[in-house]
């Protein structure tokens, strides 16, 4: 027990988790937006947009996140001089959000598309029959129902996203959980169990409410047919 006290006194564990939560929040927001756009492309009647959406999903869903993250920080920043902020820390934070977004948008896209599959074809036909074009039909009729059918799979993506924020260490985000854990192990190798439990339990505490909330919401918001 005194092991935990020593660790918590020495290191800002809560602060480290706070960085991951912020990473997760921004990446979830942007990848949800990008994923929605991609899903619209994939269900659109325009072949070139369908092709782009499919290509994007297949490329980024099948590339390891670590590689995207390393590319985001090392290649984009140090080789191609892409800078998202003049502040050093903020820049790496944003590059990490960018990498997380690019990767998880592919998964959000597929989760939303699975939601689109819960909407009967007749809904789209009825929308077209009263004179709605593709975008208005998608916005007013298809997507509101698709999102409600996609809550559970989107919850899964969100849970994976939260845990994947630990990969941000490879993008140079220094104070987040996995880099804090590494530092702890370096200086307190004798407290290995406590260190492990600290972070494992920390993530479980963050992630369990997401699962409970999305399960509850997917039942509560299900479209009655």
């Amino acid at each position: 027990m005194e092991g935990f006290t020593a660790l918590f006194e020495q290191y800002d564990v809560v602060g480290a988790f706070w960085v991951n939560i912020q990473l997760a929040f921004w990446a979830a927001l942007w990848s949800l937006i990008l994923g929605t756009v991609l899903a619209l492309m994939r269900i659109s009647p325009i072949p070139s947009l369908q092709w782009f959406g499919t290509a994007y999903v297949n490329i980024f869903r099948n590339t390891p996140l670590t590689i995207i993250m390393v590319f985001g920080s090392l290649a984009l920043w140090s080789q191609l001089n892409v800078s998202l902020s003049s502040d050093f820390t903020t820049n790496f934070f944003r590059l990490a959000v960018l990498s997380l977004t690019v990767y998880h948008a592919a998964f959000f896209c597929e989760a939303i598309r699975s939601g689109v599959n819960t909407v009967p074809l007749g809904q789209a036909e009825a929308a077209r029959a009263i004179g709605l074009g593709f975008l208005p039909a998608a916005r007013i009729i298809i997507m509101p129902q698709a999102f409600r059918g996609a809550i559970a799979p989107m919850g899964n993506v969100l849970i994976a996203l939260v845990k994947n924020t630990t990969v941000a260490a490879t993008a140079g985000v220094a104070v987040e959980t996995s880099s804090t854990m590494k530092t702890m192990i370096e200086f307190y190798p004798n407290l290995m169990t406590q260190i492990f439990l600290t972070f494992a339990i920390g993530y479980v505490i963050i992630v369990i409410p997401i699962g409970l909330l999305t399960t509850w919401a997917s039942k509560k918001l299900a479209v009655a047919r």
Binding site: Q123, A126, R128, I130, G131, G133, I141, Q145, A224
Partner: protein, 249 residues
């Protein structure tokens, strides 16, 4: 049947294939303004496809379909505009499941016709009153019976003030005791002079409301006649056979 004016809906040499199946074979059909045409025939005869082709929910391989003088546009805004003028009632109702009954009806006028929401809602309530489900206006579609849902679907189509209404087997998914409430609504529409194309198995409706009966089999129009003539003196063997099977009970 009024014959003087140009036809409101016209199909010329229309063909369609589903793979090897030739579902519409050289269909020629003119529908006059105010005419009620009932399309009957055995399942798989292409009657639903014919109905859906008129607002291009089914594309056609060749031939020409015109509505009120304009050739059906292939896609885009022009097609959406045409569809707004052609009301469609489906077998499975297809009410927007996440919208209330009144919103289902008001949605088209607001989003397509750009009516003011208050006006659209007023119109929606009038139409719901007319089809007899105004007291259900704030419920969701799943809370209504099939017959009520189908009457709402008719109101939704009427809200667009369509030039012609297409009915694709509107009573086939209904419990028997709910069929009449829907048919009564349709008979009322026919009496008011709405141009209607009705794919149905309801021979009673055909007798009561149709100006003309089209009998289809194997993707072709085999016979067309007034209901009286068709039901009492069918000419073709296919029609005699079909009527023999359905009227013998």
């Amino acid at each position: 049947m009024p014959e003087s004016a140009a036809p409101l809906v016209s199909l010329k040499n229309v063909n369609k294939h589903f793979g090897d199946l030739h579902v519409l074979q050289n269909i020629n059909l003119d529908i006059a303004r105010g005419e009620v045409v009932v399309v009957i025939g055995p399942s798989g005869s292409g009657k639903s496809t014919l109905c859906r082709a008129i607002n291009r929910l089914e594309t056609i391989d060749d031939g020409e379909i015109t509505v009120d003088g304009a050739v059906l546009p292939a896609e885009g805004k022009a097609l959406a505009k045409l569809r707004a003028d052609v009301g469609m009632v489906f077998q499975s109702f297809n009410l927007f499941a996440h919208k209330s009954i009144v919103d289902n009806v008001a949605l088209g006028p607001v989003k397509v016709r750009r009516s003011k929401p208050a006006e659209a809602k007023k119109l929606a309530m009038e139409l719901l009153e007319r089809v007899g489900v105004a007291n259900q206006a704030n419920k969701l579609p799943a809370q209504l019976s099939g017959g009520q849902q189908q009457r709402v679907a008719i109101a939704r189509a009427l809200a667009m003030k369509p030039k012609v209404m297409l009915f694709d087997e509107p009573t086939s998914a209904l419990d028997p005791e709910m069929i009449n409430e829907v048919l009564d609504t349709m008979v009322g529409l026919a009496k008011e002079g709405m141009t209607m194309v009705v794919v149905t198995h309801e021979m009673g409706f055909a007798r009561k409301a149709a100006d003309r009966v089209i009998f289809m089999a194997d993707g072709q129009i085999i016979e067309e006649a007034t209901p009286e003539e068709f039901f009492t003196h069918p000419k073709s063997d296919r029609a005699k056979d079909f009527l023999g099977k359905i009227l013998s009970h």
